[in-house]
């Protein structure tokens, strides 16, 4: 299964495009799919690290990791695919309001006669309308976008990036964090019944520490931040950039925003709707005729009569 299918790209939609255009579009979406898979994997690993500190059990941690990884992958996929809109394309005029297409191609006039034609003919008309529309496509690259929806997506992904960056850094520097905690332990041990020593740095009998020798996420964060210093900011920015790049590509690359796939997808949807519009006209007429042929008699009884009949 091609990678691009993982994010919902249907290559059959691009049948009528030149081979090199299809190849390039598939290359792009395969690349984006791979990026999303890597981001999902980073999120899964990071969530596993967090779960290990909280639950001290591999089984639960891996389960949580896989779940969170899939949630992030699908959330990102949703953000990307719903970000592919027709702002700046002439197709938007028809995609938002299909009646514009029907009017332009005089399809309203077929309302009384559509039943006379087989389905294939209707499909052909819809297809012909689609092809005419393709020839009319023009793009305005400077068309404004909805800044609010972009900001929401960027904010959500940035928040996730920073959260999962910490998990990744904990994994990277687990040995160093454990060394620092080991240095802290004998100092705290000197105090009788020290709470941090007893509850945070001492494992319970049935749950030995895994990865980080502490029960506390906060203490782990503190140790990580204090140990890394300014390097933490750099690592956070690196992970943030990794999470932001696919979103940035979708919104900034004209190859994707106004690319052949987006236009073809819109044309496909318009043509499907047009065909179903014609089919609906046809079968509406046929069913009306059939109902008339049944010679059903609908009578209207007054309220009292109905009541009396019911009483009998």
């Amino acid at each position: 299964m091609p990678l691009s299918q993982q994010i919902g790209i249907d290559k059959d939609i691009m049948q009528k495009l030149p081979a090199e255009v299809v190849q390039r579009q598939l290359f792009i979406f395969n690349g984006i799919s791979l990026m999303l898979l890597v981001i999902g994997l980073i999120s899964a690993v990071s969530a596993t690290v967090y779960s290990l500190i909280l639950f001290h059990q591999w089984f639960i941690a891996i389960g949580v990791g896989i779940f969170i990884g899939m949630v992030v992958f699908n959330l990102y996929r949703l953000f990307l695919m719903t970000g592919l809109d027709l702002k700046g394309s002439t197709l938007a005029h028809y995609h938002i309001k299909h009646e514009n297409l029907y009017k332009e191609h005089n399809l309203h006039q077929l309302e009384g006669t559509a039943y006379q034609h087989p389905d294939e003919i209707l499909k052909g008309w819809a297809q012909a309308a689609k092809d005419k529309l393709r020839d009319k496509i023009s793009i305005n690259p400077a068309a404004p976008r909805n800044a609010f929806t972009i900001a929401v997506r960027v904010f959500v992904m940035a928040l996730l990036a920073v959260i999962f960056a910490n998990g990744l850094e904990i994994l990277m520097f687990s040995q160093q964090i454990n060394l620092a905690l080991a240095e802290l332990k004998p100092i705290l041990q000197q105090q009788p019944n020290d709470w941090t020593y007893t509850h945070i740095l001492t494992p319970t009998a049935n749950e030995p520490f895994i990865l980080i020798n502490a029960n506390s996420l906060l203490l782990t964060f503190d140790t990580l931040a204090a140990g890394l210093g300014k390097w933490k900011l750099l690592l956070d920015v690196m992970v943030l950039a990794i999470y932001m790049i696919p979103l940035l590509v979708i919104y900034r690359s004209t190859e994707i925003r106004h690319g052949a796939y987006v236009q073809e997808l819109a044309l496909h949807e318009i043509s499907k709707t047009t065909y179903h519009y014609l089919i609906t006209q046809k079968y509406c007429h046929i069913f009306q005729e059939q109902i008339k042929g049944l010679k059903l008699e609908f009578r209207k009884y007054d309220h009292r009569t109905n009541k009396g009949a019911a009483a009998e």
């Binding site: 990277m172 204090a226 890394l228 790049i245 690359s253």
Partner: protein, 310 residues
């Protein structure tokens, strides 16, 4: 490559470059020294709301360390010590030492003869330089109306307050030092919790003068004992304090010797054959021993002698 294609290609390249960089960083992180675990425990204790180390004291110590960078010979070095004594009270002592006296103390140490001659030289030299500090101790004793025994405990506990620091010379560098657990000290010459710090190349006899200890707070058995003895002698409270030297199971050792009536223990004491006085040993490297005169921490106590410092 046209402009349109460029954007995706560069973004993709950047994405994979960052991933590869992250992988490389996670492999070579130790070599690059990205994570500095040194002093993390200290920082934690400073930040902890249950604060086991007085934050103010630590900040003052940090400020004092910065001050030390000021190399003007006419400048003064300011220090504030805060510690808990045997009576459970916390004492604070602020004092100044002139940089000239500090540098002179260093020079005196470097020119000192071996063993007791070295201690005597430093003891004699540091009298003037430590005047402000000794006056500070005297003020505490007067203001708090301490009897001689509580005053003695107050002075010794101040010397014990700093964490143990190994002091070494060229014959036995820090890198060769291991404690009973095989632990190597850190080579940063600062009093710090275990694993302890270590001061390298303290020529010639691996001991700091009392004045240097007052400034740095780094010391092992003889440095701490010499400091406590010097202060007690200069306070002149009516009892004798001397240096004791001998063997314990850990090797050659130095302790503070106190000649007081009715000491709490009699097993660790040394008689001075010249004066006939008995000096009771007080371990200065351990903070707040349970016993007033220091718990008898050593099982073996052989070849001990009193080293009179005049």
């Amino acid at each position: 490559m046209n402009q349109e294609k460029k954007y995706f290609n560069i973004s993709q390249l950047l994405f994979w470059a960052l991933i590869i960089l992250l992988i490389i960083l996670s492999i070579v992180k130790s070599d690059l020294g990205l994570f500095n675990e040194q002093q993390l425990s200290r920082r934690y204790l400073l930040d902890d709301s249950l604060n086991r180390i007085a934050l103010q004291e630590e900040q003052e110590r940090e400020e004092a360390e910065k001050e030390e960078d000021n190399q003007d010979p006419n400048s003064v070095i300011k220090r504030t010590w805060k510690w808990e004594s045997f009576d459970g009270k916390t004492y604070t002592l602020s004092f100044t030492i002139s940089r000239k006296a500090y540098e002179s103390a260093k020079q005196t140490r470097l020119k000192s003869p071996q063993n007791e001659g070295c201690w005597i030289n430093m003891f004699r030299h540091d009298r003037d330089g430590l005047k402000d500090m000794v006056d500070g101790y005297r003020n505490i004793i007067q203001e708090q109306k301490l009897d001689y025994r509580t005053a003695m405990q107050m002075v010794v506990s101040s010397a014990q307050n700093f964490d143990y620091t190994y002091i070494t010379n060229q014959q036995e560098p820090c890198r060769n030092i291991r404690d009973g657990n095989g632990q190597k000290p850190t080579e940063d010459c600062k009093p710090k919790p275990y694993p302890y710090g270590c001061c390298d190349n303290v020529a010639p006899w691996a001991v700091y003068s009392p004045l240097e200890y007052a400034v740095n707070g780094a010391g092992d058995c003889d440095t701490k004992s010499l400091f406590a003895m010097t202060i007690l002698k200069y306070l002149n409270m009516g009892f004798d304090a001397e240096m004791l030297m001998g063997d314990v199971e850990a090797g050659r050792h130095a302790m503070l010797g106190i000649c007081v009536p009715n000491p709490p223990h009699r097993n660790l004491s040394v008689r001075d054959m010249r004066s006939g006085k008995r000096y009771y040993a007080w371990e200065c490297t351990q903070r707040n021993n349970a016993s007033e005169l220091g718990a008898p921490v050593w099982q073996m106590f052989k070849n001990w002698e009193v080293v009179p410092i005049r």
